[in-house]
Symmetry: C2
Subunit: 318 residues, 2 copies
Protein backbone atom coordinates (compact mmCIF):
# COMPACT_ATOMS: atom_id res chain seq x y z
CA UNK A 1 0.00 0.00 0.00
CA UNK A 2 1.54 3.27 -1.06
CA UNK A 3 1.75 6.07 1.46
CA UNK A 4 0.29 9.52 0.69
CA UNK A 5 2.69 12.39 1.23
CA UNK A 6 1.95 16.12 1.05
CA UNK A 7 4.41 18.99 0.88
CA UNK A 8 3.82 21.98 3.18
CA UNK A 9 5.53 25.34 2.74
CA UNK A 10 5.21 27.80 5.63
CA UNK A 11 6.29 31.22 4.37
CA UNK A 12 6.91 33.83 7.06
CA UNK A 13 8.50 37.26 6.93
CA UNK A 14 11.91 35.94 8.06
CA UNK A 15 11.95 32.17 7.36
CA UNK A 16 10.53 29.49 5.11
CA UNK A 17 9.83 26.02 6.46
CA UNK A 18 9.34 23.21 3.93
CA UNK A 19 8.34 19.71 4.95
CA UNK A 20 6.87 16.40 3.83
CA UNK A 21 3.83 15.40 5.88
CA UNK A 22 1.82 12.21 6.05
CA UNK A 23 -1.97 12.20 5.97
CA UNK A 24 -1.86 11.53 9.70
CA UNK A 25 -0.13 14.85 10.40
CA UNK A 26 3.19 13.12 10.96
CA UNK A 27 6.09 15.22 9.61
CA UNK A 28 8.51 12.90 7.80
CA UNK A 29 11.17 15.53 7.22
CA UNK A 30 11.39 19.30 7.19
CA UNK A 31 13.97 21.95 6.51
CA UNK A 32 14.22 25.61 7.41
CA UNK A 33 15.38 28.26 4.93
CA UNK A 34 16.12 31.93 5.41
CA UNK A 35 13.63 34.31 3.75
CA UNK A 36 15.71 36.81 1.79
CA UNK A 37 13.33 39.65 0.98
CA UNK A 38 15.17 42.71 -0.22
CA UNK A 39 13.01 42.91 -3.35
CA UNK A 40 9.96 41.22 -4.81
CA UNK A 41 12.17 39.08 -7.09
CA UNK A 42 14.43 38.01 -4.23
CA UNK A 43 11.41 37.18 -2.05
CA UNK A 44 9.88 34.97 -4.75
CA UNK A 45 13.26 33.40 -5.49
CA UNK A 46 13.60 32.49 -1.79
CA UNK A 47 10.34 30.56 -1.93
CA UNK A 48 10.99 28.82 -5.24
CA UNK A 49 14.56 27.98 -4.21
CA UNK A 50 13.51 26.52 -0.84
CA UNK A 51 10.99 24.24 -2.58
CA UNK A 52 13.54 23.31 -5.28
CA UNK A 53 16.22 22.35 -2.75
CA UNK A 54 13.78 20.38 -0.60
CA UNK A 55 12.23 18.52 -3.54
CA UNK A 56 15.65 17.68 -5.04
CA UNK A 57 16.69 16.08 -1.74
CA UNK A 58 13.35 14.31 -1.17
CA UNK A 59 13.62 10.56 -1.82
CA UNK A 60 10.30 9.35 -0.37
CA UNK A 61 7.03 8.58 -2.22
CA UNK A 62 5.94 11.10 -4.87
CA UNK A 63 4.01 13.89 -3.12
CA UNK A 64 0.31 14.21 -4.00
CA UNK A 65 0.11 18.01 -3.70
CA UNK A 66 1.82 21.12 -2.35
CA UNK A 67 0.25 23.57 0.09
CA UNK A 68 1.71 27.02 0.78
CA UNK A 69 0.76 29.14 3.80
CA UNK A 70 1.72 32.80 3.41
CA UNK A 71 1.56 36.06 5.31
CA UNK A 72 -0.73 38.60 3.67
CA UNK A 73 -3.73 38.43 1.39
CA UNK A 74 -4.47 35.38 -0.71
CA UNK A 75 -7.05 34.38 -3.28
CA UNK A 76 -7.18 30.60 -2.78
CA UNK A 77 -9.52 30.10 -5.75
CA UNK A 78 -6.99 31.34 -8.29
CA UNK A 79 -3.94 30.48 -6.17
CA UNK A 80 -2.81 34.09 -6.14
CA UNK A 81 -0.72 35.85 -3.48
CA UNK A 82 -2.35 39.28 -3.65
CA UNK A 83 -0.31 41.38 -1.24
CA UNK A 84 1.83 41.24 1.92
CA UNK A 85 2.43 44.01 4.42
CA UNK A 86 5.82 42.85 5.76
CA UNK A 87 7.26 41.63 2.46
CA UNK A 88 7.77 43.49 -0.85
CA UNK A 89 4.74 41.88 -2.48
CA UNK A 90 2.57 44.81 -3.48
CA UNK A 91 0.91 43.37 -6.58
CA UNK A 92 -0.50 39.89 -7.28
CA UNK A 93 1.75 36.84 -7.79
CA UNK A 94 0.20 33.74 -9.49
CA UNK A 95 2.25 31.56 -7.16
CA UNK A 96 0.18 28.35 -7.26
CA UNK A 97 0.37 28.26 -11.06
CA UNK A 98 4.13 28.82 -11.04
CA UNK A 99 4.75 26.02 -8.55
CA UNK A 100 2.30 23.68 -10.29
CA UNK A 101 4.05 24.24 -13.62
CA UNK A 102 7.41 23.40 -12.03
CA UNK A 103 6.42 20.25 -10.12
CA UNK A 104 3.38 19.00 -12.01
CA UNK A 105 1.12 18.40 -8.97
CA UNK A 106 -1.80 20.40 -7.49
CA UNK A 107 -0.85 23.47 -5.45
CA UNK A 108 -3.00 25.32 -2.89
CA UNK A 109 -2.35 28.69 -1.22
CA UNK A 110 -3.87 30.37 1.80
CA UNK A 111 -2.92 32.81 4.53
CA UNK A 112 -1.08 31.60 7.61
CA UNK A 113 -4.01 31.84 10.03
CA UNK A 114 -6.39 29.99 7.73
CA UNK A 115 -3.66 27.36 7.25
CA UNK A 116 -3.11 26.98 11.02
CA UNK A 117 -6.88 26.71 11.48
CA UNK A 118 -6.96 23.90 8.91
CA UNK A 119 -4.26 22.11 10.91
CA UNK A 120 -6.49 22.47 14.00
CA UNK A 121 -9.40 21.10 12.00
CA UNK A 122 -7.51 18.06 10.70
CA UNK A 123 -5.16 17.21 13.56
CA UNK A 124 -6.09 19.34 16.58
CA UNK A 125 -9.42 20.17 18.26
CA UNK A 126 -11.19 19.37 14.97
CA UNK A 127 -10.79 15.67 15.70
CA UNK A 128 -13.44 16.09 18.41
CA UNK A 129 -15.38 19.23 17.51
CA UNK A 130 -16.92 20.73 14.38
CA UNK A 131 -17.55 24.19 15.85
CA UNK A 132 -14.61 26.08 17.26
CA UNK A 133 -12.71 29.35 17.21
CA UNK A 134 -8.95 29.34 16.75
CA UNK A 135 -7.65 32.53 18.38
CA UNK A 136 -4.16 33.63 17.46
CA UNK A 137 -2.50 36.57 19.20
CA UNK A 138 1.11 37.38 18.48
CA UNK A 139 2.35 40.44 16.65
CA UNK A 140 -1.28 40.86 15.54
CA UNK A 141 -4.69 39.36 16.31
CA UNK A 142 -6.71 37.04 14.15
CA UNK A 143 -9.19 34.24 14.41
CA UNK A 144 -9.97 31.12 12.42
CA UNK A 145 -13.70 30.35 12.52
CA UNK A 146 -14.75 26.74 12.00
CA UNK A 147 -18.44 25.82 11.90
CA UNK A 148 -19.99 22.58 10.76
CA UNK A 149 -16.46 21.32 10.19
CA UNK A 150 -15.80 24.04 7.58
CA UNK A 151 -13.40 26.97 7.73
CA UNK A 152 -15.40 30.17 7.33
CA UNK A 153 -13.53 32.14 4.66
CA UNK A 154 -16.01 34.90 3.89
CA UNK A 155 -16.73 36.09 0.37
CA UNK A 156 -13.11 36.94 -0.52
CA UNK A 157 -11.15 34.89 2.05
CA UNK A 158 -10.74 37.76 4.55
CA UNK A 159 -12.92 36.40 7.36
CA UNK A 160 -11.32 36.31 10.81
CA UNK A 161 -10.26 39.93 11.28
CA UNK A 162 -11.10 39.94 14.97
CA UNK A 163 -8.33 42.50 15.60
CA UNK A 164 -10.53 45.26 14.24
CA UNK A 165 -13.50 44.71 16.48
CA UNK A 166 -14.04 47.94 18.45
CA UNK A 167 -13.80 47.25 22.19
CA UNK A 168 -13.22 50.75 23.63
CA UNK A 169 -15.64 53.53 22.68
CA UNK A 170 -13.51 56.62 21.96
CA UNK A 171 -10.34 54.53 22.31
CA UNK A 172 -7.12 55.39 20.52
CA UNK A 173 -7.03 55.79 16.77
CA UNK A 174 -6.16 52.52 15.01
CA UNK A 175 -4.26 52.51 11.69
CA UNK A 176 -7.49 51.10 10.20
CA UNK A 177 -9.17 54.47 10.81
CA UNK A 178 -11.50 53.53 13.66
CA UNK A 179 -11.03 54.11 17.39
CA UNK A 180 -10.64 51.49 20.10
CA UNK A 181 -9.89 48.39 17.98
CA UNK A 182 -8.83 45.23 19.79
CA UNK A 183 -5.50 44.72 18.03
CA UNK A 184 -3.54 47.76 19.32
CA UNK A 185 -4.68 46.97 22.86
CA UNK A 186 -4.20 43.21 23.04
CA UNK A 187 -1.62 42.15 20.45
CA UNK A 188 2.04 41.75 21.34
CA UNK A 189 2.95 44.43 18.83
CA UNK A 190 0.28 46.74 20.24
CA UNK A 191 1.24 46.27 23.90
CA UNK A 192 4.94 46.84 23.21
CA UNK A 193 4.10 50.01 21.25
CA UNK A 194 1.94 51.27 24.11
CA UNK A 195 4.74 50.63 26.63
CA UNK A 196 7.23 52.49 24.43
CA UNK A 197 4.89 55.47 24.17
CA UNK A 198 4.04 55.55 27.88
CA UNK A 199 7.48 54.81 29.41
CA UNK A 200 8.64 58.48 29.44
CA UNK A 201 5.64 59.25 31.71
CA UNK A 202 6.59 56.41 34.09
CA UNK A 203 10.23 57.04 35.12
CA UNK A 204 10.01 54.46 37.93
CA UNK A 205 8.57 51.59 35.85
CA UNK A 206 10.42 48.25 35.99
CA UNK A 207 9.83 48.03 32.26
CA UNK A 208 12.66 50.50 31.60
CA UNK A 209 15.19 47.82 32.53
CA UNK A 210 14.29 45.54 29.60
CA UNK A 211 14.99 48.00 26.79
CA UNK A 212 14.50 46.49 23.36
CA UNK A 213 14.31 42.93 24.70
CA UNK A 214 10.93 43.59 26.37
CA UNK A 215 8.28 40.91 25.78
CA UNK A 216 4.63 40.69 26.72
CA UNK A 217 5.54 37.92 29.17
CA UNK A 218 7.69 40.46 31.05
CA UNK A 219 4.88 43.03 30.97
CA UNK A 220 2.54 40.47 32.59
CA UNK A 221 5.12 39.54 35.23
CA UNK A 222 5.71 43.22 35.99
CA UNK A 223 1.96 43.70 36.34
CA UNK A 224 1.87 40.86 38.88
CA UNK A 225 4.76 42.55 40.71
CA UNK A 226 2.71 45.76 41.01
CA UNK A 227 4.28 47.92 38.30
CA UNK A 228 1.58 50.54 37.53
CA UNK A 229 2.33 50.96 33.81
CA UNK A 230 2.51 47.20 33.24
CA UNK A 231 -0.69 46.88 35.25
CA UNK A 232 -2.53 49.41 33.12
CA UNK A 233 -1.39 47.85 29.82
CA UNK A 234 -2.24 44.35 31.06
CA UNK A 235 -5.62 45.33 32.49
CA UNK A 236 -6.63 47.05 29.27
CA UNK A 237 -5.65 43.87 27.39
CA UNK A 238 -7.67 41.70 29.80
CA UNK A 239 -10.79 43.90 29.62
CA UNK A 240 -10.64 44.24 25.85
CA UNK A 241 -9.95 40.61 25.09
CA UNK A 242 -12.74 39.56 27.46
CA UNK A 243 -15.21 41.88 25.76
CA UNK A 244 -14.21 40.69 22.30
CA UNK A 245 -14.40 37.00 23.19
CA UNK A 246 -17.81 37.28 24.85
CA UNK A 247 -19.06 39.18 21.77
CA UNK A 248 -17.66 36.42 19.59
CA UNK A 249 -19.11 33.58 21.67
CA UNK A 250 -22.57 35.22 21.67
CA UNK A 251 -22.42 35.74 17.93
CA UNK A 252 -21.05 32.34 16.89
CA UNK A 253 -21.90 29.85 19.66
CA UNK A 254 -18.65 27.85 19.44
CA UNK A 255 -18.07 24.62 21.35
CA UNK A 256 -14.39 25.39 22.02
CA UNK A 257 -11.96 28.27 21.85
CA UNK A 258 -8.45 27.06 21.01
CA UNK A 259 -5.59 29.51 21.24
CA UNK A 260 -2.07 29.95 19.97
CA UNK A 261 0.46 32.68 19.19
CA UNK A 262 3.33 34.18 21.17
CA UNK A 263 1.30 36.63 23.27
CA UNK A 264 -0.94 33.86 24.60
CA UNK A 265 1.74 31.16 24.92
CA UNK A 266 2.47 31.74 28.64
CA UNK A 267 -1.24 31.38 29.46
CA UNK A 268 -1.33 34.59 31.54
CA UNK A 269 -3.74 36.60 29.44
CA UNK A 270 -6.15 33.71 28.87
CA UNK A 271 -6.15 32.83 32.58
CA UNK A 272 -7.20 36.40 33.33
CA UNK A 273 -10.07 36.50 30.83
CA UNK A 274 -11.31 32.96 31.42
CA UNK A 275 -13.90 33.82 34.08
CA UNK A 276 -15.32 36.66 32.00
CA UNK A 277 -15.61 34.44 28.90
CA UNK A 278 -17.17 31.60 30.87
CA UNK A 279 -19.77 33.78 32.64
CA UNK A 280 -20.39 36.70 30.23
CA UNK A 281 -22.28 35.10 27.31
CA UNK A 282 -26.04 34.44 27.30
CA UNK A 283 -26.98 31.46 29.50
CA UNK A 284 -27.62 28.80 26.86
CA UNK A 285 -24.63 29.95 24.84
CA UNK A 286 -22.17 29.87 27.72
CA UNK A 287 -23.46 26.44 28.70
CA UNK A 288 -22.53 25.10 25.28
CA UNK A 289 -18.96 26.50 25.45
CA UNK A 290 -16.86 23.60 26.68
CA UNK A 291 -13.70 25.56 27.35
CA UNK A 292 -10.78 27.72 26.30
CA UNK A 293 -7.72 25.58 25.72
CA UNK A 294 -4.24 25.91 24.22
CA UNK A 295 -3.70 24.32 20.83
CA UNK A 296 -2.28 20.84 21.18
CA UNK A 297 -0.19 21.38 18.03
CA UNK A 298 3.47 22.31 18.38
CA UNK A 299 3.68 26.08 17.76
CA UNK A 300 6.92 25.56 15.81
CA UNK A 301 5.12 23.16 13.47
CA UNK A 302 1.59 24.48 13.17
CA UNK A 303 2.42 26.67 10.15
CA UNK A 304 3.97 23.74 8.28
CA UNK A 305 1.13 21.40 9.26
CA UNK A 306 -1.40 24.01 8.15
CA UNK A 307 0.31 24.38 4.78
CA UNK A 308 0.31 20.59 4.37
CA UNK A 309 -3.43 20.59 5.19
CA UNK A 310 -4.08 22.92 2.30
CA UNK A 311 -2.39 20.30 0.11
CA UNK A 312 -4.42 17.52 1.73
CA UNK A 313 -7.64 19.35 0.84
CA UNK A 314 -6.82 19.50 -2.87
CA UNK A 315 -4.80 16.27 -3.08
CA UNK A 316 -7.77 13.99 -3.37
CA UNK A 317 -7.96 13.09 0.32
CA UNK A 318 -10.26 14.78 2.78
Amino acid sequence: MSESVFIGVDVGATKILVGAVRQTGNIISSRRFKMEHETRAITLHSIHNALEVFMQAWDGPAPRAIGIGLVGQIDPETGTWLEAMNLPIKSPVPLAGQVRDRFGIPVALDNDVHAATMAELHWGIGTESKDFLYLNIGTGVSAGLVFGGQLLRGSKNYAGELGHMVVQSDGELCPCGRRGCLEPIVSGGGMLARVKKELPNHPDSILHSFGKTLTTHQIFKAADAGDPLAGKISNDAIDSLGTALVNLVNLLNPEWIVYGGGTLSDGWLIDHVRENVETGPLTMIRKSLKGIIPSRLNPEQVGLLGAACLALDIGGIK
Copy 2:
Protein backbone atom coordinates in the same frame (compact mmCIF):
# COMPACT_ATOMS: atom_id res chain seq x y z
CA MET B 1 -45.52 15.38 -13.20
CA SER B 2 -46.49 15.69 -9.58
CA GLU B 3 -45.83 18.95 -7.82
CA SER B 4 -43.86 19.08 -4.53
CA VAL B 5 -45.62 20.93 -1.74
CA PHE B 6 -44.29 21.82 1.70
CA ILE B 7 -46.17 23.02 4.75
CA GLY B 8 -44.79 25.99 6.67
CA VAL B 9 -45.94 26.97 10.16
CA ASP B 10 -44.84 30.39 11.41
CA VAL B 11 -45.43 30.50 15.17
CA GLY B 12 -45.23 33.94 16.78
CA ALA B 13 -46.22 35.19 20.21
CA THR B 14 -49.62 36.44 19.00
CA LYS B 15 -50.42 34.60 15.74
CA ILE B 16 -49.79 31.39 13.84
CA LEU B 17 -49.56 31.42 10.06
CA VAL B 18 -49.88 28.08 8.25
CA GLY B 19 -49.38 27.72 4.52
CA ALA B 20 -48.67 25.37 1.63
CA VAL B 21 -45.64 26.43 -0.38
CA ARG B 22 -44.20 25.22 -3.68
CA GLN B 23 -40.51 24.47 -4.10
CA THR B 24 -40.28 27.75 -6.00
CA GLY B 25 -41.31 29.76 -2.95
CA ASN B 26 -44.77 30.31 -4.32
CA ILE B 27 -47.41 30.25 -1.56
CA ILE B 28 -50.39 28.23 -2.79
CA SER B 29 -52.59 29.01 0.17
CA SER B 30 -52.18 30.23 3.73
CA ARG B 31 -54.31 30.89 6.77
CA ARG B 32 -53.79 32.95 9.89
CA PHE B 33 -54.76 31.68 13.36
CA LYS B 34 -54.78 33.41 16.71
CA MET B 35 -52.16 32.18 19.17
CA GLU B 36 -53.97 31.50 22.45
CA HIS B 37 -51.26 31.26 25.05
CA GLU B 38 -52.67 31.44 28.57
CA THR B 39 -50.90 28.21 29.56
CA ARG B 40 -48.41 25.77 28.11
CA ALA B 41 -51.20 23.37 27.16
CA ILE B 42 -53.24 26.08 25.46
CA THR B 43 -50.17 27.30 23.57
CA LEU B 44 -49.42 23.83 22.24
CA HIS B 45 -53.08 23.24 21.45
CA SER B 46 -53.12 26.44 19.39
CA ILE B 47 -50.29 25.13 17.22
CA HIS B 48 -51.66 21.60 16.80
CA ASN B 49 -55.14 22.92 16.12
CA ALA B 50 -53.96 25.41 13.48
CA LEU B 51 -52.15 22.63 11.63
CA GLU B 52 -55.12 20.28 12.00
CA VAL B 53 -57.58 22.79 10.58
CA PHE B 54 -55.27 23.72 7.71
CA MET B 55 -54.48 20.12 6.78
CA GLN B 56 -58.13 19.07 6.92
CA ALA B 57 -59.02 21.79 4.47
CA TRP B 58 -56.00 21.20 2.19
CA ASP B 59 -57.00 19.44 -1.04
CA GLY B 60 -53.79 19.78 -3.08
CA PRO B 61 -50.98 17.25 -3.57
CA ALA B 62 -49.79 15.38 -0.46
CA PRO B 63 -47.20 17.58 1.30
CA ARG B 64 -43.64 16.22 1.45
CA ALA B 65 -42.73 17.67 4.85
CA ILE B 66 -43.69 20.22 7.50
CA GLY B 67 -41.41 23.01 8.76
CA ILE B 68 -42.15 25.00 11.91
CA GLY B 69 -40.47 28.30 12.75
CA LEU B 70 -40.81 29.30 16.41
CA VAL B 71 -39.84 32.07 18.78
CA GLY B 72 -37.37 30.94 21.41
CA GLN B 73 -34.76 28.23 21.66
CA ILE B 74 -34.83 25.17 19.44
CA ASP B 75 -32.80 22.01 19.07
CA PRO B 76 -33.28 21.25 15.37
CA GLU B 77 -31.47 17.90 15.61
CA THR B 78 -34.03 16.40 17.96
CA GLY B 79 -36.90 18.62 16.82
CA THR B 80 -37.35 20.02 20.32
CA TRP B 81 -38.75 23.41 21.29
CA LEU B 82 -36.59 24.07 24.35
CA GLU B 83 -37.90 27.34 25.73
CA ALA B 84 -39.61 30.61 24.80
CA MET B 85 -39.41 33.93 26.59
CA ASN B 86 -42.74 35.40 25.47
CA LEU B 87 -44.78 32.20 25.67
CA PRO B 88 -45.38 29.80 28.59
CA ILE B 89 -42.89 27.24 27.26
CA LYS B 90 -40.38 26.85 30.07
CA SER B 91 -39.41 23.22 29.57
CA PRO B 92 -38.73 21.21 26.39
CA VAL B 93 -41.52 20.15 24.00
CA PRO B 94 -40.77 17.31 21.50
CA LEU B 95 -42.87 19.15 18.93
CA ALA B 96 -41.42 17.67 15.72
CA GLY B 97 -42.09 14.14 16.94
CA GLN B 98 -45.67 14.99 17.94
CA VAL B 99 -46.47 16.53 14.56
CA ARG B 100 -44.70 13.74 12.67
CA ASP B 101 -46.74 11.13 14.54
CA ARG B 102 -49.95 12.92 13.63
CA PHE B 103 -49.31 13.53 9.92
CA GLY B 104 -46.79 10.82 9.02
CA ILE B 105 -44.34 13.07 7.15
CA PRO B 106 -40.93 14.56 8.15
CA VAL B 107 -41.05 17.62 10.42
CA ALA B 108 -38.31 20.21 11.02
CA LEU B 109 -38.15 22.96 13.67
CA ASP B 110 -35.97 26.03 14.00
CA ASN B 111 -36.14 29.51 15.44
CA ASP B 112 -37.79 32.31 13.51
CA VAL B 113 -34.58 34.13 12.53
CA HIS B 114 -32.86 30.98 11.29
CA ALA B 115 -36.04 30.18 9.36
CA ALA B 116 -36.17 33.66 7.79
CA THR B 117 -32.49 33.34 6.89
CA MET B 118 -33.23 30.04 5.16
CA ALA B 119 -35.92 31.81 3.14
CA GLU B 120 -33.30 34.40 2.12
CA LEU B 121 -30.95 31.59 1.19
CA HIS B 122 -33.49 29.75 -0.97
CA TRP B 123 -35.57 32.56 -2.44
CA GLY B 124 -33.90 35.88 -1.60
CA ILE B 125 -30.31 37.12 -1.83
CA GLY B 126 -29.12 33.50 -1.66
CA THR B 127 -30.08 33.05 -5.29
CA GLU B 128 -27.08 35.24 -6.17
CA SER B 129 -24.73 35.06 -3.17
CA LYS B 130 -23.36 32.37 -0.89
CA ASP B 131 -21.96 34.73 1.76
CA PHE B 132 -24.35 37.17 3.39
CA LEU B 133 -25.64 38.49 6.68
CA TYR B 134 -29.36 38.72 7.30
CA LEU B 135 -29.88 41.48 9.85
CA ASN B 136 -33.21 41.58 11.64
CA ILE B 137 -34.11 44.43 13.97
CA GLY B 138 -37.59 44.64 15.43
CA THR B 139 -38.48 44.13 19.06
CA GLY B 140 -35.00 42.61 19.39
CA VAL B 141 -31.84 42.24 17.31
CA SER B 142 -30.53 39.14 15.64
CA ALA B 143 -28.56 38.06 12.63
CA GLY B 144 -28.58 35.08 10.32
CA LEU B 145 -25.07 34.27 9.10
CA VAL B 146 -24.73 32.44 5.78
CA PHE B 147 -21.31 31.40 4.51
CA GLY B 148 -20.49 29.04 1.69
CA GLY B 149 -24.24 28.73 1.16
CA GLN B 150 -24.73 27.28 4.65
CA LEU B 151 -26.55 28.78 7.64
CA LEU B 152 -24.08 29.07 10.50
CA ARG B 153 -25.87 27.55 13.48
CA GLY B 154 -23.06 27.27 16.01
CA SER B 155 -22.61 24.25 18.23
CA LYS B 156 -26.10 24.33 19.77
CA ASN B 157 -28.05 26.41 17.23
CA TYR B 158 -27.65 29.73 19.09
CA ALA B 159 -25.40 31.52 16.59
CA GLY B 160 -26.56 34.98 15.53
CA GLU B 161 -26.93 36.77 18.88
CA LEU B 162 -25.65 40.05 17.52
CA GLY B 163 -27.82 41.94 20.02
CA HIS B 164 -25.37 41.19 22.79
CA MET B 165 -22.29 42.58 21.14
CA VAL B 166 -20.96 45.34 23.41
CA VAL B 167 -20.85 48.65 21.53
CA GLN B 168 -20.63 51.20 24.35
CA SER B 169 -17.90 50.80 26.98
CA ASP B 170 -19.53 51.48 30.36
CA GLY B 171 -22.93 51.68 28.68
CA GLU B 172 -26.16 50.86 30.50
CA LEU B 173 -26.65 47.51 32.17
CA CYS B 174 -28.28 44.98 29.82
CA PRO B 175 -30.54 42.21 31.19
CA CYS B 176 -27.81 39.80 30.00
CA GLY B 177 -25.50 41.16 32.70
CA ARG B 178 -23.05 43.10 30.57
CA ARG B 179 -22.95 46.83 29.89
CA GLY B 180 -23.44 48.60 26.57
CA CYS B 181 -24.98 45.78 24.50
CA LEU B 182 -26.35 46.63 21.06
CA GLU B 183 -29.91 45.41 21.60
CA PRO B 184 -31.15 47.92 24.24
CA ILE B 185 -29.74 50.78 22.14
CA VAL B 186 -30.82 49.84 18.64
CA SER B 187 -33.84 47.53 18.86
CA GLY B 188 -37.38 48.86 18.63
CA GLY B 189 -38.09 47.53 22.10
CA GLY B 190 -34.93 49.12 23.44
CA MET B 191 -35.52 52.53 21.88
CA LEU B 192 -39.11 52.72 23.08
CA ALA B 193 -37.98 51.77 26.60
CA ARG B 194 -35.32 54.47 26.53
CA VAL B 195 -37.84 57.10 25.43
CA LYS B 196 -40.22 56.07 28.21
CA LYS B 197 -37.46 56.39 30.79
CA GLU B 198 -36.15 59.72 29.49
CA LEU B 199 -39.45 61.50 28.70
CA PRO B 200 -39.95 62.92 32.24
CA ASN B 201 -36.61 64.74 31.82
CA HIS B 202 -37.73 66.22 28.49
CA PRO B 203 -41.04 68.00 29.15
CA ASP B 204 -40.92 69.77 25.77
CA SER B 205 -40.27 66.68 23.63
CA ILE B 206 -42.64 66.05 20.71
CA LEU B 207 -42.57 62.41 21.70
CA HIS B 208 -45.00 63.08 24.59
CA SER B 209 -47.80 63.52 22.06
CA PHE B 210 -47.69 59.92 20.84
CA GLY B 211 -48.28 58.21 24.16
CA LYS B 212 -48.49 54.44 23.86
CA THR B 213 -48.76 54.52 20.08
CA LEU B 214 -45.15 55.70 19.70
CA THR B 215 -43.10 53.83 17.07
CA THR B 216 -39.43 53.99 16.11
CA HIS B 217 -40.51 55.55 12.81
CA GLN B 218 -41.94 58.47 14.78
CA ILE B 219 -38.77 58.74 16.86
CA PHE B 220 -36.70 59.00 13.66
CA LYS B 221 -39.07 61.64 12.21
CA ALA B 222 -38.92 63.63 15.46
CA ALA B 223 -35.12 63.44 15.31
CA ASP B 224 -35.21 64.89 11.78
CA ALA B 225 -37.53 67.64 13.11
CA GLY B 226 -34.92 68.58 15.73
CA ASP B 227 -36.41 67.03 18.86
CA PRO B 228 -33.42 66.68 21.24
CA LEU B 229 -34.54 63.47 23.00
CA ALA B 230 -35.43 61.77 19.71
CA GLY B 231 -32.11 62.98 18.32
CA LYS B 232 -30.16 61.48 21.18
CA ILE B 233 -31.93 58.11 21.00
CA SER B 234 -31.57 58.00 17.22
CA ASN B 235 -27.91 59.06 17.22
CA ASP B 236 -27.02 56.43 19.79
CA ALA B 237 -28.75 53.84 17.60
CA ILE B 238 -26.87 55.04 14.51
CA ASP B 239 -23.47 55.03 16.22
CA SER B 240 -24.00 51.65 17.85
CA LEU B 241 -25.41 49.91 14.81
CA GLY B 242 -22.58 51.30 12.68
CA THR B 243 -19.96 50.03 15.12
CA ALA B 244 -21.56 46.58 15.32
CA LEU B 245 -21.93 46.20 11.57
CA VAL B 246 -18.34 47.26 10.83
CA ASN B 247 -17.16 44.77 13.50
CA LEU B 248 -19.28 42.10 11.84
CA VAL B 249 -18.10 42.88 8.31
CA ASN B 250 -14.44 42.81 9.40
CA LEU B 251 -14.96 39.51 11.19
CA LEU B 252 -17.01 37.70 8.56
CA ASN B 253 -16.27 39.34 5.18
CA PRO B 254 -19.82 39.05 3.80
CA GLU B 255 -20.71 39.90 0.22
CA TRP B 256 -24.08 41.42 1.14
CA ILE B 257 -25.98 42.60 4.18
CA VAL B 258 -29.72 42.05 3.77
CA TYR B 259 -32.07 43.56 6.31
CA GLY B 260 -35.59 43.11 7.61
CA GLY B 261 -37.66 43.70 10.73
CA GLY B 262 -39.97 46.52 11.80
CA THR B 263 -37.32 48.90 13.11
CA LEU B 264 -35.44 48.87 9.79
CA SER B 265 -38.48 48.78 7.51
CA ASP B 266 -38.66 52.54 6.86
CA GLY B 267 -34.98 52.55 5.80
CA TRP B 268 -34.08 55.51 8.06
CA LEU B 269 -31.63 53.76 10.35
CA ILE B 270 -29.84 51.89 7.55
CA ASP B 271 -29.56 55.07 5.46
CA HIS B 272 -27.83 56.74 8.40
CA VAL B 273 -25.30 53.93 9.00
CA ARG B 274 -24.61 53.13 5.35
CA GLU B 275 -21.62 55.43 4.94
CA ASN B 276 -19.99 54.13 8.12
CA VAL B 277 -20.47 50.51 7.07
CA GLU B 278 -19.21 51.17 3.55
CA THR B 279 -16.08 53.05 4.67
CA GLY B 280 -15.24 51.64 8.11
CA PRO B 281 -14.04 48.07 7.41
CA LEU B 282 -10.49 47.19 6.33
CA THR B 283 -9.81 48.12 2.70
CA MET B 284 -9.99 44.69 1.04
CA ILE B 285 -12.95 43.71 3.17
CA ARG B 286 -15.00 46.81 2.40
CA LYS B 287 -14.22 46.39 -1.29
CA SER B 288 -15.79 42.95 -1.24
CA LEU B 289 -19.00 44.17 0.44
CA LYS B 290 -21.41 44.74 -2.43
CA GLY B 291 -24.08 46.54 -0.45
CA ILE B 292 -26.69 46.78 2.29
CA ILE B 293 -30.11 46.10 0.87
CA PRO B 294 -33.64 45.42 2.12
CA SER B 295 -34.85 41.85 1.88
CA ARG B 296 -36.81 41.31 -1.33
CA LEU B 297 -39.14 38.92 0.51
CA ASN B 298 -42.51 40.18 1.71
CA PRO B 299 -42.15 40.86 5.46
CA GLU B 300 -45.64 39.45 6.04
CA GLN B 301 -44.60 36.19 4.40
CA VAL B 302 -40.94 35.71 5.29
CA GLY B 303 -41.73 33.73 8.47
CA LEU B 304 -44.00 31.34 6.58
CA LEU B 305 -41.54 31.01 3.72
CA GLY B 306 -38.74 30.36 6.20
CA ALA B 307 -40.76 27.64 7.92
CA ALA B 308 -41.48 26.05 4.54
CA CYS B 309 -37.71 26.16 3.79
CA LEU B 310 -37.04 24.08 6.87
CA ALA B 311 -39.42 21.51 5.39
CA LEU B 312 -37.73 21.76 1.99
CA ASP B 313 -34.38 20.95 3.58
CA ILE B 314 -35.62 17.70 5.11
CA GLY B 315 -38.20 16.85 2.45
CA GLY B 316 -35.74 15.30 0.04
CA ILE B 317 -35.28 18.40 -2.11
CA LYS B 318 -32.45 20.85 -1.67
